[in-house]
């Protein structure tokens, strides 16, 4: 008798315990559904890449690296620290405790919502049915679901010729788990993950080289935003090799080619961070009549449904592979499957890069706005105009606001500078609310803060007489 093939009924099944998956599970439970959440690692995997090996661990490392760096960079201000040291092994213990704390908090939420968390990989067997195969020897569980939300996320791409071995060739997960700092490291990939990791490792004390195949870092990000970052990388001694294609890594020598020339780099370890691919290949999607696109993405409607009773959210759908996109979609998917009229229709999905200085983007760049046929006005304030920035010894960066003159609405905000990742949220609100420059200026911002830069950036756009020059140093000095 094959006991394992007796299917159990599940009202709403969520596949994947990342930010999208657990948010969807919680929202569905709130709406009265009985929810099962399947994650490869069960409760230990809740939070997904983001919490376990992505956003959260990397921010922990960046925070410590920055604290070490600042301890020695404020010498001119009188701060005397002989030698700041980071014990990476101790850091890992601390970071693991933080991650464990956050994980158990999410597990607690799921338990209180009576969401059953099951360990294993789910794959479809036919429409309405599937099987959960655990990684250990437990028998597979057959389930029949009413509705399913797919939130299986993505995994790092490997570089052909440079397979990960966890010793010499690392992926981002390995890099964040380092207990000993390599003396030298090459980061392959100049996207945001490579840039964040490379900067943090450099501040911790490694000799870092960033190797990028294209002719620029952060493809897709306005070049103007990148300039302060390039300057800071230079100051940190980070070597940036553009238009270099990596070939192999053997005996501590990384081989790359550039314009037909072979280049060799002697480095202790290599971190590959060239992108991610969606986890849709093992789901058995063909069993329910779905075919992922050429890059593995599942096509969904505005309600995030890929088929009746089947929703897909997060990295396995089109758009930026960002946790906050997944959590926003989770709400829509859960509500759509409960019959509520919903649509995923944001004006913008913000993007932040925890580089030094930080880059944060919401809405349209000036060029993008022009390309959409808008009558564009741009307000821009350099970081040097901010009193608060001066006290932080920060001068490289700016705040920029893009306005559509026809509707007098803010359509884009770009910030480069300290805490840009925090400051951008106000820009998102302004874009979603179709705020006008006057709305920003009319909302009193506390002084002295970096947040003042947003209204000050657009102050010059108000009542500007033709041809008049407007002082930009509005925020300098005492009130």
């Amino acid at each position: 008798m094959v006991v394992g093939e007796v299917a159990e009924g599940v009202d709403l099944l969520v596949v994947g315990g990342g930010p999208g998956g657990y948010s969807a599970a919680l929202r569905a439970a709130q709406l009265g559904r009985s929810v099962m959440l399947v994650d490869r690692l069960g409760e230990a995997g809740v939070g997904g890449v983001c919490l376990q090996v992505g956003c959260i661990p990397s921010k922990a490392m960046i925070e410590v690296a920055e604290a070490k760096h600042r301890a020695t960079s404020l010498r001119e201000a009188g701060l005397q620290v002989e030698q700041a040291q980071v014990d990476l092994a101790q850091f890992q213990t601390w970071k693991d405790a933080k991650v464990a704390g956050l994980t158990s908090a999410v597990v607690g939420l799921l338990r209180r919502a009576l969401v059953e968390v099951v360990a294993g990989d789910f794959r479809f067997t036919r429409p309405g049915s599937g099987v959960v195969q655990s990684l250990d020897d437990r028998p597979p569980r057959h389930v029949q679901y009413t509705d399913v939300i797919l939130a299986t996320g993505s995994r790092p791409l490997e570089l052909p010729g440079l397979p990960r071995d966890g010793v010499g060739v690392l992926d981002s997960t390995d890099a964040l788990a380092l207990a000993r700092l390599p003396a030298s490291v090459a980061v392959v990939g100049g996207g945001y993950i490579g840039l964040e990791l490379g900067t943090a490792l450099a501040k911790l004390g490694s000799r870092v080289t960033i190797v990028e195949a294209l002719d620029r870092l952060l493809p897709g990000v306005d070049a103007a935003l990148l300039r302060p970052v390039r300057q800071r990388l230079k100051a940190l001694g980070v070597n940036v090799l553009l238009e270099h294609r990596v070939q192999s890594f053997e005996d501590g020598r990384l081989t790359a080619t550039s314009q037909g020339q072979a280049v060799e780099l002697a480095v202790e370890q290599v971190v590959v961070a060239i992108g991610r691919m969606p986890n849709t290949d093992g789901l058995g999607l063909h069993k329910i009549g779905l075919t992922p696109g050429p890059t593995g993405l599942i096509e969904v409607g505005k309600d995030r449904l890929a088929a009746p009773h089947v929703a897909a959210i997060g990295d396995i759908t089109a758009g930026p592979a960002l946790a906050h996109k997944a959590t926003a979609e989770a709400e829509v998917a859960a509500e759509a499957l409960c019959g509520l009229p919903v649509a995923f229709d944001p004006a913008t999905i913000p993007a932040v890069v925890f580089s030094d200085p930080e880059i944060a983007i919401a809405g349209l760049s000036p060029d993008e706005a022009k390309a959409q046929g808008m009558d564009v006005a741009v307000g821009r304030l350099p970081l040097g105009a901010s009193g608060r920035a001066a006290t932080m010894d920060a001068a490289d960066g700016f705040t920029q606001v893009v306005v559509d003159r026809a509707t007098d609405a803010v359509v884009g905000v770009q910030i480069v500078g300290p805490h840009a990742s925090e400051l951008i949220a106000e820009g998102v609100l302004a874009i979603e609310m179709a705020a006008s420059p006057q709305d920003l200026v009319g909302s009193i911002h506390p002084h002295p803060t970096l947040s003042e830069m947003l209204p000050d950036a657009v102050r010059g756009l108000l009542h500007r007489p033709a041809g008049a020059t407007v002082p930009t140093a509005a925020a300098v000095g005492a009130p």
Binding site: T146, R276, P294, A351, G363, G412
Partner: protein, 429 residues
């Protein structure tokens, strides 16, 4: 090589004639088997007639606008082995089956992932806050159709709410007992450019002619009596709100209509005269065992009444689902003759057009018709005090040859009982 006379087939049960709406071919056109030759409008629907063979069009049997009897020659085709005639391709061939879309160019994983999301189009996006957007979704309102009262046309929550109150016919009012016509519509009113007025004589054809004949017969033959009532819809509104999320899990919109149909069906059981037909020639009254409910459905071409068969045997969710199917079929004119015949009673929803009360016209040989207005708040007297209650206006017209005033009173009293306390329908089911 031989000639084939393709005759107008009986595309529906009992069809006797059809009107040529559009030719997709002309003499000389090379056609392949199953290629659509012509659109023919019958009493209830537009039918695309495909070619039975591969061949060449020799002659068309009728011009656009002609009415052909079933069996008349529609088109003469010369059948042959597919020849070199392909040089003369059909100039107005209907859309060929779409070629499989070329696969998007495979994007090899970029060596560097983009940090920034591709910016979506903001140009042309309606200016409205996320809360306003959500409200619009909940009310089925297309923001693009709302006139924004804020600066630069910004749409406010009040604008959305005001839009839902406006009695613009094409935009269904969610507060009203939505008709089949509104059930599946997107809430996006069709924007039609208004042409200048001109003198014009057009033939009465197709669906319009059928409606005209049927209504004339009813108005001249059937002595109507019509009665009007207003119903406290508090419990009905609550019942729909409670049922809706469950009913809509499968994606079928749950309007008031299924509840109204259920109430009518339950009432008909106790009042068989309303589910009957008078035959003056034979001097008989035919009582019907089945309760087949006609659903007056607005389409671009005119009123079509698909029939919900054996409505008494259907669950509430099945009723909702079949109404949706029938209404869609009526609107895209794919409804079959079978789906529009054998009605025994009709329900109409003038509330969809913002209506309060109306005098519905009976569809002979049926004996009665019920019309529902729009639910709106009204001041009513409760225990001697003025109270605001959601109120549903309704009117029932009946054939006075069969039905007297006291029959009407009994029918209405029971119908109103079911609508006032929907839970009573449990007893009837």
């Amino acid at each position: 090589m031989s000639q084939l006379e393709f005759r107008l087939p009986d595309v529906g049960e009992g069809l006797s004639e059809g009107e040529i709406v559009e030719w997709h071919v002309e003499p000389g056109s090379v056609v392949t088997r199953d290629q659509v030759l012509v659109d023919v409008e019958t009493d209830k629907s537009i039918v695309e007639l495909p070619s039975p063979v591969n061949g060449t069009v020799v002659r068309l049997g009728a011009a656009v606008g002609d009415v052909l009897e079933v069996g008349a020659v529609l088109v003469v085709l010369e059948t042959e082995e597919r020849s070199a005639a392909s040089a003369h391709a059909a100039p107005e061939a209907p859309e060929a089956p779409e070629a499989p879309a070329a696969p998007a160019p495979a994007q090899s994983p970029s060596p560097a992932e983009a940090a920034a999301p591709p910016a979506g189009a903001l140009a042309g996006r309606v200016l409205a806050s996320p809360a306003t957007r959500k409200l619009a979704l909940e009310h089925g309102v297309d923001l693009a159709a709302v006139a924004g009262s804020g600066d630069g046309g910004r749409v406010t929550k009040d604008d959305v709410l005001a839009h839902t109150q406006a009695p613009t016919p094409p935009a269904p009012t969610p507060a009203a007992p939505a008709s089949p016509a509104s059930a599946a519509s997107s809430g996006r009113p069709a924007r039609v450019a208004v042409p200048p007025l001109k003198d014009e004589l057009v033939p009465l054809r197709g669906l319009r002619r059928q409606i005209a004949k049927s209504m004339t017969r009813s108005w001249t033959e059937v002595p109507h009596i019509t009665e009007f009532r207003e119903v406290d819809a508090t419990a009905l509104v609550a019942a729909r709100a409670l049922l809706r999320p469950r009913m809509e899990r499968d994606g079928v919109p749950f309007t008031y209509l299924p509840l109204l149909v259920k109430a009518v069906v339950a009432t008909l059981r106790e009042h068989p005269k309303f589910n009957a037909s008078v035959d003056m020639a034979a001097e008989t009254i035919q009582y019907h065992g089945r309760r087949n409910i006609g659903l007056a459905t607005t389409t671009d071409a005119g009123l079509i009444v698909p029939v919900l068969k054996d409505a008494d045997t259907l669950s509430l969710s099945e009723t909702a689902r079949q109404i949706e199917v029938l209404a869609n079929a009526a609107r895209d004119r794919s409804v079959s003759t079978d789906q529009t015949s054998q009605g025994t009673f009709t329900v109409t929803n003038f509330g969809t057009f913002g209506g309060w009360l109306a005098t519905p016209i009976i569809r002979p040989p049926e004996a009665a018709i019920a019309g529902f207005g729009r639910i709106r708040d009204a001041v009513v007297a409760v225990d001697g005090k003025p109270v605001v209650r959601p109120t549903l206006p309704l009117s029932v017209a009946a054939d006075h040859r069969l039905i007297d005033g006291n029959d009407m009173g009994g029918f209405l009293t029971m119908l109103i009982d079911y609508l006032t306390d929907p839970v009573l329908m449990l007893e009837a089911s």
